[in-house]
């Protein structure tokens, strides 16, 4: 819906409401492999930001190290960004977004980056609830180092050099639900529309919004039987619902029979409409999410959509009682206490 209207709005001009063209959201030419899932996700980030009329200058991009983590170079040229260290992005993001809470954080990581070397930081990041869109481009391998198994590779999965993976995969969404993350979604790079709508939802969410996106590595892990391949994704994807972000400003009559959709109101007043596609599922029920994920796992099913949402948790900045203004914008007089206060302290140390 919002999509259609958006496109209508932009169809004529080619510009969005803040007068930017889609080009203003693009990045540099990708150096990733042709057909890499990461590239399609980058395009959806571009599309989502464009359609949401976001100012690229008010976004910061963050990433670790990996093919996935390179992608911030391939979208949003007009945004500042930090391509940091392998597995450490959550720490850099925490410092950055606490220092300047006015900026909108979009982070891209890989399954190796997040579930192997970065697992601890990832979980503590969720625990603090730092407002940011956290995208894991999940392909079950280490792409940039030429295809070793990552911790999300399924047991029994085969790749060229290393043979068969004997270990059970780490379920990133399950962990996120566990760490009480307020926005937990799973998607598939082969389903661009869903990726885009979930991105929009995440971008409107206040708190950590986790997107675990299956993003096939066409070079090292795209065999049909791999649970991280395009074929497997296409044949096993089971979308929970049709996600649409309904911006406040638009007056839209959503015509469903009752119970056919869930509406979730976010802090900025926008609504998430989740039109059910399968058995009754309540994305505000943590236990349900837990159950769904472990069933999906045993059923070998790629359940996608917004698995769990709870907009009512304090962000780290709120928890710490920070000023609304970015700490980086404070004046010298606000940062340096006055002379009298120091004299007072010196007195106390006599």
């Amino acid at each position: 819906m919002s999509v259609t209207t958006e496109s209508q709005a932009t169809a004529r001009t080619g510009l969005n409401r803040i007068g930017l063209s889609k080009n203003d959201y693009r990045g540099r030419p990708t150096t990733l492999c042709q057909g890499c899932g990461h590239n399609s996700i980058s395009s959806q980030i571009v599309a989502a930001a464009f359609e949401m009329d976001l100012m690229p200058e008010q976004i910061v991009k963050l990433s670790g190290i990996g093919c996935s983590s390179k992608s911030p170079a391939y979208f949003l040229n007009r945004s500042h960004g930090f391509n940091s260290l392998h597995g450490r992005m959550p720490t850099v993001a925490t410092g950055a977004l606490v220092a300047n809470r006015a900026l909108l954080g979009i982070a891209v990581s890989g399954d190796g980056d997040t579930a192997s070397i970065g697992l601890g930081h990832f979980m503590h990041f969720l625990r603090r609830n730092v407002p940011m869109v956290y995208i894991v481009e999940n392909n079950g391998v280490y792409g940039l180092t030429k295809g070793q198994f990552s911790a999300t590779a399924d047991r029994g999965q085969k790749i060229k050099r290393q043979g068969e993976n004997p270990f059970l995969p780490i379920d990133i969404c399950q962990l996120a639900v566990n760490m009480n993350c307020g926005f937990v979604a799973r998607s598939f790079a082969g389903d661009p529309r869903q990726v885009k709508e979930l991105l929009k939802a995440a971008l409107s969410f206040r708190g950590t919004a986790l997107l675990d996106i299956i993003s096939p590595c066409v070079t090292f892990n795209n065999r049909d039987e791999s649970t991280k391949s395009y074929t497997w994704g296409k044949t096993h994807q089971a979308p929970l619902h049709d996600v649409t972000l309904v911006p406040r400003r638009e007056e839209i009559h959503i015509e469903y029979e009752p119970g056919q959709a869930t509406l979730v109101e976010l802090h900025d007043g926008t609504f998430l409409s989740l039109r059910k596609l399968r058995e009754d599922y309540d994305p505000t029920d943590r236990e349900a999410a837990r159950r769904l994920l472990s069933e999906a796992r045993s059923r070998q099913e790629l359940v996608t959509g917004l698995l769990y949402v709870n907009p009512d948790q304090p962000s780290l900045q709120e928890t710490m009682g920070q000023v609304e203004r970015p700490l980086t914008m404070l004046s010298e007089s606000e940062l340096r206490p006055d002379r009298a206060s120091l004299d007072q302290i010196m007195q106390e140390m006599r």
């Binding site: 540099r28 100012m55 690229p56 200058e57 008010q58 991009k61 911030p72 170079a73 040229n77 007009r78 945004s79 500042h80 960004g81 930090f82 391509n83 940091s84 260290l85 450490r88 959550p90 720490t91 850099v92 993001a93 925490t94 410092g95 950055a96 977004l97 606490v98 220092a99 300047n100 006015a102 900026l103 601890g120 930081h121 503590h124 603090r128 780290l316 900045q317 710490m320 009682g321 920070q322 000023v323 609304e324 970015p326 700490l327 980086t328 914008m329 404070l330 010298e332 606000e334 940062l335 340096r336 206490p337 002379r339 206060s341 120091l342 302290i345 010196m346 106390e348 140390m349 006599r350």
Partner: protein
């Protein structure tokens, strides 16, 4: 007092000799976790408030409760308050170590002990004073939960009475300690006074040691370096601090948490103009600081050896991506987990090259809590001016012990936020490249996220980059960038605090040192001068070094580098930076976990000076 042995003539003679005033050390041998800290700080602060120069050094175990702890107070009219090898007066209340403790009292010394002790009381060359701890407790009968703490006040009272410490000053000291909580002060003072009264009536002074009010501490303060560092950071406008607990650095971050709410909230809203995050580990702590520093906040972290090891990768990133952050390393004894509660200067070499592949860092070396405060804010100016991590190396001795200090000077200069371009600047300039050396000093200009000018945005990275921060593998681009970073490190020489040089005309011996050994070296130089061995002193305050340092080395026939580590790391750094002097540098080092003593330095130099 039956156990009191007959006093031997030597002692009688000694004790009847002229009194020793304001010139001795006294050690309290206690058990940690028993609250004796309150008693010890009460004594030292009272002495300090009587105008007598003091220092307090706490030798504590790496556990929480039940092990031996020694708190040594040195009082010295001339301000020589470095650690001494032995203390003339013992407050021996730890039964486990009492025999050992008594054995270490020098002849003519004094021993205060709880009167229920039965052993170790047979030295004839020591004056013993029993203390009726149990009896006084029975009489005063404090609330059960306070009993143990109040018990420790007995020795405060007795010692005060015997040495002449003024009780009103003890009360003042307790007021400071309990931040004005009258109730706590009263219940403790009650015992102090009872004990003093008992001593007055029951003990005869038979030793030579006394204190007298003088006026050598007017306007001064008593403070530890970690608190000073935290205050320095606060008055330097710290915006973001991340940390992970570790001895002996924890109290630095905790001091931030104690003082920030009081000093850095918005008047109206009461909202915080800072953020302090306890991270999940040190990798995260420095990572968060890097994120905040990148954004443009004044960002810091504080840790000790093991944490520094974990920060290596981020240190290299911050150096190479040129992100300003400040890292405090309150050094403890290493390698590895080593001795968490012992002091050392052993991280120097490691920190200088922290990070693989040609990484180098600027290091500041405060020599006192006062400099901790000063470098606390200067470090931010330097980091932002140079766009590089600035490491500040102190140690457990400066960081956690009580030092007498001139009060801290309020920063006079405005903050130096370095080469940051606003949207207006970009508009004016019409061009911008994050890593271009516009001024030839190796320091590029930066824009901060949030700057909405079209020229502002770029992608910061730890990978090879050209002037525009774009990834490149071009050999020439890599070399150009590394040459610029080299230039920047040369520029740093001109910005970091220079050495403090005290040249003695005609002195042929030069002493190079740094950090917490300052007092010991100064005292040693006085003694040597007295023995007709004049020396010049140079206290390094930063790496990289300035030419003056080489000049100083050249100017002296013999040059000793004094430090507290096993490898002679400062000497090694000097060898690297001044190859022509390398052969002339002699190493005088000790690394046993205790602060250096003047007497050790004197002994070392006496037989090595030619």
């Amino acid at each position: 007092m039956s156990q009191q042995p007959v006093i031997d003539p030597a002692l009688a003679e000694a004790t009847s000799a002229s009194p020793i005033v304001n010139r001795f050390s006294i050690v309290a041998a206690t058990v940690n976790g028993s609250g004796s800290q309150t008693s010890n700080t009460a004594i030292i602060r009272a002495l300090f408030r009587m105008g007598i120069p003091v220092s307090g050094k706490n030798l504590f175990p790496s556990n929480i409760q039940g092990l031996p702890t020694w708190f040594t107070i040195r009082v010295n009219e001339d301000g020589c308050v470095a650690r001494e090898d032995s203390a003339e007066l013992l407050i021996g209340i730890n039964p486990e170590t009492f025999l050992q403790d008594v054995a270490e009292v020098p002849p003519g010394g004094v021993c205060f002990y709880p009167d229920h002790f039965t052993e170790g009381l047979d030295r004839t060359d020591v004056v013993y004073y029993p203390m009726p701890v149990q009896q006084l407790l029975r009489e005063l009968d404090p609330p059960k939960e306070l009993r143990e703490y109040i018990a420790n006040m007995v020795y405060v009272g007795v010692v005060a009475e015997i040495l002449g410490i003024e009780l009103p000053e003890i009360r003042e000291a307790l007021l400071t300690h309990f931040q004005g909580k009258a109730k706590a002060v009263d219940s403790n003072m009650a015992m102090v006074e009872a004990a003093a009264a008992w001593a007055r009536s029951s003990l005869v002074k038979r030793d030579r040691y006394r204190v007298e009010r003088i006026d050598k501490t007017a306007g001064m303060i008593l403070v530890d370096g970690n608190t000073a560092a935290a205050l320095g950071a606060i008055y330097g406008g710290v915006g973001f601090a991340a940390w992970y607990p570790i001895t002996p650095a924890s109290s630095l971050a905790e001091a931030l948490q104690d003082y920030l709410p009081r000093l850095r909230r918005m008047p109206e809203s009461g909202k915080a103009t800072y953020a302090v995050v306890q991270a999940e580990d040190e990798l995260a702590a420095i990572g968060m600081a890097v994120g905040a520093g990148w954004m443009g906040a004044r960002a810091m972290t504080s840790t000790s050896g093991p944490g520094v090891s974990l920060m290596a990768e981020f240190a290299g990133l911050a150096f190479f991506a040129e992100i300003p952050i400040v890292v405090w390393d309150v050094q403890r004894m290493g390698p590895s987990t080593g001795l968490p509660t012992r002091t050392s200067q052993g991280d120097l070499m490691f920190v200088r090259y922290l990070g693989h592949g040609d990484t180098k860092h600027v290091i500041l070396l405060p020599g006192s809590p006062r400099e901790c405060f000063e470098f606390g804010w200067k470090a931010f100016d330097l980091a932002e001016r140079l766009q590089t991590p600035v490491f500040v190396l102190t140690d457990l001795d400066i960081g956690m012990n009580l030092w007498m200090s001139e009060p801290f000077d309020y920063p006079e200069e405005p903050m130096d936020r370095g080469k940051v371009l606003t949207a207006a600047d970009l508009e004016r300039l019409g061009t911008f490249a994050r890593y271009r050396d516009v001024d030839g000093d190796g320091i590029p200009y930066r824009t901060l996220p949030g700057n909405e000018h079209p020229l502002s945005a770029h992608l910061v990275r730890g990978t090879g980059h050209d002037e525009n921060a774009f990834y490149t593998e071009r050999p020439d681009a890599w070399e150009r960038n590394m040459e610029r970073l080299w230039r920047k490190m040369e520029t740093a020489r001109g910005h970091v605090p220079g050495p403090i040089i005290d040249s003695t005309p005609g002195a042929e011996i030069g002493l190079i040192y740094f950090g917490s050994t300052d007092l010991a070296v100064r005292e040693a130089r006085q003694t040597l001068a007295g023995e007709g061995i004049p020396t010049s002193g140079l206290r390094l305050r930063a790496v990289p070094f300035q030419e003056e340092v080489e000049a100083f080395i050249e100017a002296h026939r013999q040059v000793f580098v004094i430090e507290m580590n096993t490898d002679g790391q400062m000497r090694q750094l000097l060898q690297v930076e001044f190859p022509r002097q390398a052969a002339r540098l002699q190493s005088l080092r000790k690394n046993d976990g205790l602060p250096l003593t003047a007497s050790w330095i004197v002994a070392g130099l006496r037989h090595r000076s030619e």
